[in-house]
């Protein structure tokens, strides 16, 4: 390990250091404000040293880690999202100001960062476990709340099962190939493609990842966990955790040479199609906004998977570009939507039923406009980044001539429109109930407004972002 390698790892080191520092600070003095600011400063510092890593990229650090443009891009995304979640946490936890949430947030972020830069099964598993284990207490953080505890336990159990599947899959692949690092796996991929051990291994791995990504039929935990977790934590699960896992899947797929398996692509295509349809239909039936967003995120993961399958039949660069763009759009949009829910909620009372949003436009016009922009982006309406994401999905799947999948996306989008717009209509309804006074959240609202502006800006002028993603995609190919 050289000094340069340490510099390349600086963002990870900063976040790890910050988590230790916050923990020590809590031990010395229980002060939520201090913990929050330390966390935020740590994250901003990590973002500030990212350009340094980018300059050193691509840098292979030991056998485990690869810091390339791809990793740097996703690390930037994850840390920015985590910083916003920290802001949301600060506004959300009013009754019980407990500092531990920030430590957990930092370690979970670290897990996500490790995932997107891992180049080896060992680090893959390590990152995933750091992320998941930090998430269990975060989900159950409202200890007085039954739903929150239930969600925490549920996530614990299912996450444990999926980790076991994943580990077993890795073991089988190792048994067949004798290697654990992705690039070396690619070298032997052709040789072991017909090996039943490796095939079962890959399928088990995909099942494990399917749990984390909440793809049908591994989606059963999603709605309950989304609903039970505190709103900022929901935002974190929906965005950071899923994006990191998907980013890893793409790297494994391309670097590990798995994209050559055609049967595998068919299986994934089916999972994607079913996720799109089931997610959208189930979202249609919800009256709880958090549950609705849970099911809609299942559908969105289906869209990405379709882009993923389409990309892997074409060329790997388009795969990383289209999936990367969709993940970016997905992360920003869900962060905004769940962020608004979180700003409206507090740990004593969640603002999750659709009825509560009746007439929001007349009570909280700015938050309502921000939520509307986010919902339109989720629905894939032009002028928002979500449309460009959906455009990528269409472009990739049409280019690959996957007509049944295209049809699924059309049907799914049609259904999606209905329930997203329904929320907007509810917000526009006129019910003059007494408005609940919101405590001032000085930083959160401007941050969310900025996010909404970014959504619209990137939807109207996507050129620059597309260029960034092309560079990122090239790093992987």
């Amino acid at each position: 390990m050289t000094i340069a390698a340490l510099f390349a790892l600086l963002p990870l080191i900063v976040i790890a250091g910050a988590s230790v520092l916050v923990m020590l600070a809590i031990a010395l003095r229980r002060d939520a404000r201090l913990a929050f600011w330390l966390t935020l400063i740590g994250m901003i510092l990590a973002l500030a040293v990212l350009p340094l890593s980018l300059r050193l990229a691509p840098m292979q650090v030991t056998d485990l880690l690869l810091v390339d443009a791809y990793a740097v891009f996703f690390i930037g995304l994850i840390v920015s999202a985590a910083a916003l979640v920290a802001l949301l946490c600060q506004g959300y936890f009013r009754q019980q100001q407990r500092e531990e949430i920030y430590v957990l947030l930092l370690t979970a972020t670290l897990g996500g960062m490790l995932l997107v830069s891992s180049n080896h099964f060992a680090l893959f598993f390590l990152g995933l476990e750091i992320l998941s284990v930090s998430l269990f207490p975060m989900i159950a953080f409202r200890v007085g709340n039954k739903a929150s505890l239930e969600a925490g336990i549920k996530y614990l159990m299912l996450s444990g099962v999926s980790s076991a599947l994943l580990l077993f899959g890795m073991a089988l692949i190792y048994a067949a190939s004798g290697v654990l690092s992705f690039p070396r796996l690619a070298q032997v991929a052709v040789g072991i493609a017909g090996d039943p051990l490796a095939q079962v291994g890959v399928i088990l791995m995909l099942a494990g990842l399917g749990f984390k990504l909440s793809l049908v039929p591994f989606h059963l935990w999603t709605a309950d966990v989304y609903q039970g977790a505190p709103a900022p934590v929901t935002a974190f699960i929906a965005t950071v955790s899923k994006t990191a896992v998907f980013a890893l899947l793409v790297r494994f797929w391309i670097t590990g040479g798995a994209y050559r398996g055609e049967v595998l692509a068919d299986i994934l295509g089916c999972i994607g199609a079913v996720s799109v349809l089931a997610g959208n239909v189930l979202a249609l039936l919800q009256t709880n906004l958090k549950r609705m967003l849970a099911y809609s995120s299942i559908a969105h993961m289906g869209y990405v998977l379709i882009a993923f399958v389409a990309g892997s039949t074409l060329q790997t660069e388009l795969l990383a570009e289209s999936v990367g763009f969709y993940l970016l759009a997905y992360l920003l949009t869900n962060l905004g939507a769940l962020g608004v829910i979180s700003v409206l909620s507090g740990d004593e009372q969640e603002y999750e039923n659709l009825d509560a949003y009746e007439g929001l436009f007349w009570r909280e016009p700015w938050l309502a406009v921000i939520l509307t922009v986010n919902l339109l982006s989720l629905a894939g309406i032009p002028l928002t980044i979500g449309f460009i994401g959906k455009f990528y999905v269409f472009a990739a799947s049409i280019h690959a001539s996957l007509w049944p999948l295209v049809a699924c996306v059309v049907v799914g989008s049609g259904i999606g429109l209905y329930y997203y717009l329904h929320v907007v209509v509810v917000m526009l309804g006129r019910v003059l109930s007494t408005p609940k006074a919101l405590p001032a959240q000085s930083l959160t609202k401007p941050a969310l407004a900025l996010l909404a502006l970014l959504l619209v800006g990137a939807g109207v002028f996507p050129g620059a972002l597309i260029q960034v993603l092309q560079v990122v995609a090239k790093a992987l190919a």
């Binding site: 455009f391 049409i398 059309v410 049609g414 209905y418 717009l421 526009l428 050129g463």
Partner: protein
Amino acid sequence: MILFWLIAVPLLGGGVAWWVERVFGKGSRAVALTALVVEALLVLSLRPDASMQDAWMAQLAWNWIPRFGIGFHLGLDGLSFLLISLTVLLGFMAVGCSWTEIDEQRGLFHFNLLWTLAGVIGVFLALDLFLFFFFWEVMLIPMYFLISLWGHENRAYAAMKFFIFTQVGGLLMLIAILALVFLHRQSSGVLSFDYLQLLGNQLNPEAARWIMLGFFIAFVVKLPSVPFHTWLPDAHTQAPTGGSVLLAGVLLKTGAYGLVRFVLPLFPQAAREFAPVAMALGAISILYAAKLAFAQSDFKRLIAYTSVSHMGFVLVGVFALNTWALQGAVMTMLAHGISAAALFMLAGALQQRLHTRELGAMGGFWTQAPRMGAIGLLFSVAALGMPGLGNFVGEFLVLLGGFRTSVPMTVLAAFGLTLAPIYALQVVQRVFHGPPVENVPADFGLRELGLMLVLVAATLWMGLYPQALLRLSGATISDFTQTLAAQGSPP
């Protein structure tokens, strides 16, 4: 640059109108009117010159998303000029007829109204298929809000139905666009969404047929034609008057415009093969919607069905694939825009006064409201195709051209001219004649009368001297028919 401002002015005007109303609590109507006046001046400043050789009067091309070969490419020819003029004129009508009707959230209303107009104008100008799709959606969302916020009793259902129909149609079009672009790249090596580049595409007939179908369905849903028309009666009935005026007057025309601008020139061969089916759909629309119109007891619903019937003529005209019929289709688009807008304004005025749209609750209004009666009669006979008024010219040309392509379909379509008087005169009979009901509305005021007189003048002009308009669209139409003749004939 003028083309850019044509789109930017209503967008900006909408924003300002909303802001002004929020800050001062009034003034959004004045802002909306000002924006429309500026827009009208811009349109007039383009001063069409019918003697020009090049069909394009103005073009504008900027880079937008070079990764996919997408450009911000706008172009104006005679056809778009006519339709944009209609859009601006009806924009004035929509603001004028909502003057007293809308009293809640007036700023937001005018914001949505102007953004719809901007989207429609963008659709008429876009020469990049991605940009076209973009505007196609931009006009949809504010219209959705117009219906769902200021509509009548069943507005949420109607707005949702409208949105989902057009959106799913739009997605089919997006797929068709992408398929066209990727196939074009395979054959030429250039990834481009530009209309002028895609014009000379060398698709194989099988692919062209499917792609054309994608475009066709999207446009026919919007038009609408049987069997995709079911959203329209609901949307029209529930929309506020200003929304109905725009919907019937302009939004339906975007479907017809798409057929003329994209389906025919991009897929001449496939369009020719498909023409009999399309003409049959048009003829069925004419007759079926006319019959349904006759059976309605809701005034706005009745007018909505007559719109379907008239748009059937447009479909027949477009797919007759010759100059006369195409010119007729364009004339029908313009004339129907005027007459349908006027009838919806009448229905809106009646509803504002009587709080009902039921024809059963009306009758004998002529004595108390002679201005309303006279204008209602005029536009009813315009709708039934009385010579001397706009609709007659369009329908006559459509039938004339259609006869040369398909005699049976044209004969069928011509029966529409016998059915139209039945429903049109029945409206006059039930609303204005007969024994007066108890609740008789006040007559048109000066504002309403003024608006109506503008529309009367427009329809008279179209009926008596259509040549000025025909000349404007002539260059474009003859370009299309030349393409059709060159490429569309069977090999």
